[in-house]
Symmetry: C2
Subunit: 653 residues, 2 copies
């Protein structure tokens, strides 16, 4: 079903730079890896993407949007686990001290060896020479081979390499270090050995205020700001569950060695939704609206069997067959699909890949990535995880602030439970400084553990409680464990969080690739087929040729469009032909062009050209402007228009 | 003309917190001074403000918007002057080490003394007791006065204090230190002495990448990203001048001791325009469109005479009388005025204050602040400065990249100029290691300086060139200075930059105050009169009372509105009366409310209520929804609607 669409990336990249879609930041200062500036086209694309996202999710789903601080005190990120665990492994060239991300280095070196092996085999087949097995050494590299001569690998080594590459995201520090030693991974540029991997935290740190005592980080995600405000959000929602908060903004990761253009950067725009849901009921009231949508799914079990075969399935089937864990998760996958379709992502190059159990955070109970295919391969652009109650629980524990929902029960819950009843008169004097700790320990015991204590006390008259402070003997004089009946009118619970998290830069870049094509007539005429909702400029306004007489009409048209909120670009350069000007604005993805010529002055007629078909119609200024507004806000289509407005003949562009 | 509108700030602040307009960030962790999280209302207000700004400036004025990196390498900010000069002065309590911003401490202490003096005088007048002059000491404080008893000051001391307060923004480090010593300024909380002021740089710093060798800062403004991309922007604009770039985004200042809520924060949303203009022609082609607008001006010369009297003047008059330096500056002041009017700022509480010469950066040639009055006083919300060619010049010098405009001249410029002609054969051997430096020095001489060299050589046969390396004797054998004729077909110049810079948080807070009022019937019924363009939710949808029968209609109305891009809030809480629900949503500034009752089920009639008049009309669902969309996009007004739709009687709210 999916056909790999080749793109000439160097040509595309040159175009994106020349037309200022985006460029490395501070390039006149030599640039900084992983930082990009979006020019007029890139920033308008980004803004339109955000506006559509807001309409599709925040407005239509009635989410509570926030804008939280970027600078985050260390304490918050210690609780969330980022200070300890948000790390990559790095190693250095032992001589030049050049820094590498360890997994990327292993990947690059092994892939190069496999590539070299492939070439060598092709070569040897051509020469009809048998494999020189004798020359292949234990480490898998052909000895004495000239530096740039393809190298043969044993079949077993090829298999080992492929297995390592398949698991490359999942190795810990020691495993990566062992691989580097075992397979003699070195800096490809110098041939030098590299140091064993060490952990590097990916957060940018800084100091808040003038004392230097308050450490802060630039947020690595927007989620934590939402979690710490949970109680206010719930209050704003009049205590009603379920609901979602949302945030759009920049986040930061101090990548070890950024690469792949916009796909791996140090500063990025993200949009995150935190949907809070009752852990006992993850159904969604609008599920029926997405149940019929067919998705390209790549479930975990398929991947575990070593395959990447797509299963096409409706969301309804996937949830009922438990391929997708619950309705809410399924609902969001459906909404994500509709969003990507609306902005212009090619459906055939979109798949939803489930995380395998070893990929997921320990607290997550299901996670699906929306992966979009582009010239870098299948790229994770949106993660959609069920994070369970993890985040709210840890912040609540750390701050002693309740982050939970209190639900009034129509029918009270009545249940029996074991409780400890202490004889406080004896308990305190007996255990002295340990008394408080022992009491806390007893209160933290589960019902099963309490049952053991009860049994011990009742059958032996005592129970030995093991704690770090030693073994404490509990006797029947000190306490009893009794079954009591409880009645609750309020149910208190910590919501689970389902989190769709969008990397807008990755989506943007994929959209650029999916929108890029060249005209049949000429490979050098590049076009972006951005739809009118996403296109940076909606209308190009241009005179047939440079002539002062056209100026008043051009100005009038451009100003009318702009005052109606339609971004318009005027191109009246004397030096360029009309065809050249159409063409250089096709490179900006402008969907419509209005051309002014002598007829416009004489009879008020102007022409309107559609970018992809290059067909044109002619009508009065007012008529054309009305049509343009409808085309731009999506209430009219070009196909429809040319049914009632005859296409006119024009000279070849 | 301007009447001071008192606001009960504690009540307002409680409301803003309770309804989650904005709150201190990470408040469950104790909060961080100067960081705020915007909740659903605050973030929607901010977003609507940005959207209107973009439409008013970027789209209507055809500006080139960018989105640049926040993390900025140190080198860029060294060049711009921020590393050296972007500082405040701080001092510490000698005992507790509490940190103060020095000018704020002086200000607070002297203001407290003046206040105390005022109270003491009132008291003494009341008691008809003559001033106890004998008890007033040289430092201006009444000795032996009980701690909380008002203190009398000499008239001369009052005058000194007032003079210091008037100049408080302009003292350097040494002057502030002298004032602290001379007037015995201490920490008011402890009575301890404070350390002499030291400089503190206001930028947050961090380290880019894993090596620790690349220092970076969080940008203190968005301007530098625009300047370093000047050549790309000019190219995107097809080399046409003048034009403007623009950027909206967060900037950061590590304030010593943030205060005043949203007015002085460490992380803030700003919007900046850099308008590039020919230094020889600062006229603006749309100036006539704003020339008639009357502004409240506070020119520099009025302030220098010690007055704050407003001059009301049209922009046309102000520019022709040179009160405002040039048309482009005047044009932007006019557009700023129109923008603030559109969002709902009270014109009478807006003034444009010109910077006095000692306030302006050395390179600026004119600067006006749009100041908005709120309960904190007159607050600078928008700066509009003519920064001359400073920024482009320094970046160009540092990077050796040309940041200039090349203009083809229709008539070439022909001119004569003096140039040095060296006899290189003799020059090098004569000056050896100094030769290059001397040659550079000669090339850097102005025409006047060259004329002196020429005169010396021609009348004395020699000229003594003074340099740091010593005095070098130049003779006629070594060089001659000659008049040559030059012809230029291209004029190359560095544009001047006019920079309107908007502090969106300050504008937002002022707008909140200007929009806040309480109902005549009850002081406790707070309302925000946000206009439909700026209001976070546009429509409240509610049932007359809680009844499952209303649910389908409520859902249908809310969904229709949301799908048309109209944010709608549903309030169907069982526990609250209709009046209570109107009232609590007036606190969110929702301009319109749609109420569903039994008639809606029977005959499809719903009512539409306008927030400020509380008048209501009744009509069919479809009619009401059409009206709402028009009201929200600004194509219809309530006054108009009630002319054709009779206002209905309702029970008291």
């Amino acid at each position: 079903m999916f056909e790999d669409k080749k793109i000439d990336r160097p040509t595309l990249e040159a175009l994106l730079t020349n037309r200022f879609f985006f460029v490395p930041s501070f390039s006149i200062y030599g640039g900084v890896a992983g930082l990009y500036d979006y020019g007029p086209i890139g920033s308008a694309l980004q803004q339109n993407l955000i506006n559509l996202w807001r309409q599709h999710f925040v407005v239509e789903e009635d989410m509570l949007e926030m804008d939280g601080a970027i600078i985050t005190p260390a304490e918050v990120l210690k609780t969330s686990g980022h200070v300890e665990k948000f790390t990559d492994f790095m190693c250095k060239d032992e001589v030049t001290l050049e820094v590498f991300r360890a997994d990327h280095l292993v990947e690059a070196v092994l892939e190069a060896r496999l590539e070299s092996n492939k070439l060598a085999r092709e070569l040897s087949e051509k020469l009809n020479v048998s494999e020189e097995k004798a020359n292949v050494s234990a480490d898998g590299k052909k000895k004495k081979a000239a530096a740039n001569k393809p190298t043969l690998l044993e079949d077993s080594v090829v298999a080992e390499y492929n297995e390592i590459l398949a698991k490359i995201d999942n190795y810990d520090m020691k495993e990566l270090g062992d691989i580097i030693v075992k397979y003699e991974v070195r800096n490809p540029a110098t041939g030098n050995k590299v140091t064993p991997p060490v952990e590097f935290n990916l957060m940018f740190d800084s100091s808040i205020g003038p004392t230097g005592n308050l450490k802060g980080y630039l947020r690595p995600e927007t989620a934590q700001s939402q979690f710490v405000n949970f109680s206010r959000l719930l209050e704003f929602n009049n205590q009603k569950m379920p609901f979602a908060s949302a945030m759009v903004g920049k986040s930061f990761r101090n990548e070890i060695s950024p690469r792949s253009g916009l796909l791996r950067v140090r500063e990025f725009m993200m949009a995150e939704i935190e949907h809070y849901v009752d852990p006992l009921n993850k159904n969604h009231h609008k599920f029926s609206e997405v149940a019929h949508i067919k998705l390209n799914l790549l479930p975990a079990n398929v991947q575990q069997s070593g395959s990447t075969k797509i299963t096409v399935m409706t969301i309804g089937e996937a949830v009922s067959q438990k391929v997708i864990d619950n309705e809410t998760l399924g609902y969001f996958l459906g909404r994500i699909f509709l969003f990507l379709e609306k902005i212009g992502i090619d459906n055939e190059r979109l798949r939803f890949r489930q995380h395998m159990s070893n990929e997921m955070a320990h607290y997550a109970c299901d996670c699906w990535d929306a992966e979009i295919h582009n010239s870098y391969g299948w790229i994770e652009c949106i993660g959609c995880a069920d994070r369970s109650a993890y985040d709210l629980t840890v912040h609540s524990k750390r701050t002693k602030e309740k982050l939970c929902v209190r639900e009034n029960l129509e029918t009270p819950i009545v249940y029996d439970a074991l409780v400890c009843n202490l004889n406080k008169k004896l308990f305190g004097p007996k255990f002295r400084q340990n008394a408080k700790a022992i009491q806390d320990k007893l209160e933290s015991l589960t019902q099963d553990e309490l049952a053991l204590v009860k049994e011990g006390l009742e059958s032996n008259g005592k129970y030995n409680l093991e704690m770090s402070s030693g073994v404490h003997e509990l006797t029947t004089e000190l306490l009893s464990v009794d079954l009591q009946t409880f009645k609750e009118n309020v149910r208190e619970y910590t919501p689970n969080v389902i989190e769709p998290s969008f990397g807008l830069g990755r989506i943007l870049y994929s959209l650029i690739e999916h929108s890029y094509y060249t005209r049949m007539e000429s490979e050098s005429r590049s076009v972006f087929r951005f739809n009118p909702l996403i296109a940076p400029f909606k209308v190009l306004v241009l005179p047939l040729l440079k002539n002062a007489a056209f100026r008043p009409i051009l100005t009038q048209i451009a100003r009318s469009l702009r005052s109606m909120g339609v971004p318009a670009r005027v191109d009246d350069a004397a030096s360029a032909s009309i065809g050249r000007r159409y063409s250089r604005n096709d490179e900006l993805g402008i969907p419509f062009a209005i051309t002014v010529d002598y007829q416009s002055i004489e009879s008020g007629l102007i022409t309107l050209r559609e970018r992809d078909t290059t067909t044109q119609i002619q009508a009065d200024i007012k008529v054309i402007l009305d049509l343009v507004v409808k085309l731009v806000n999506g209430s009219e289509t070009w196909e429809n228009i040319i049914k009632t407005h005859p296409v006119i003949e024009t000279s070849a562009e």
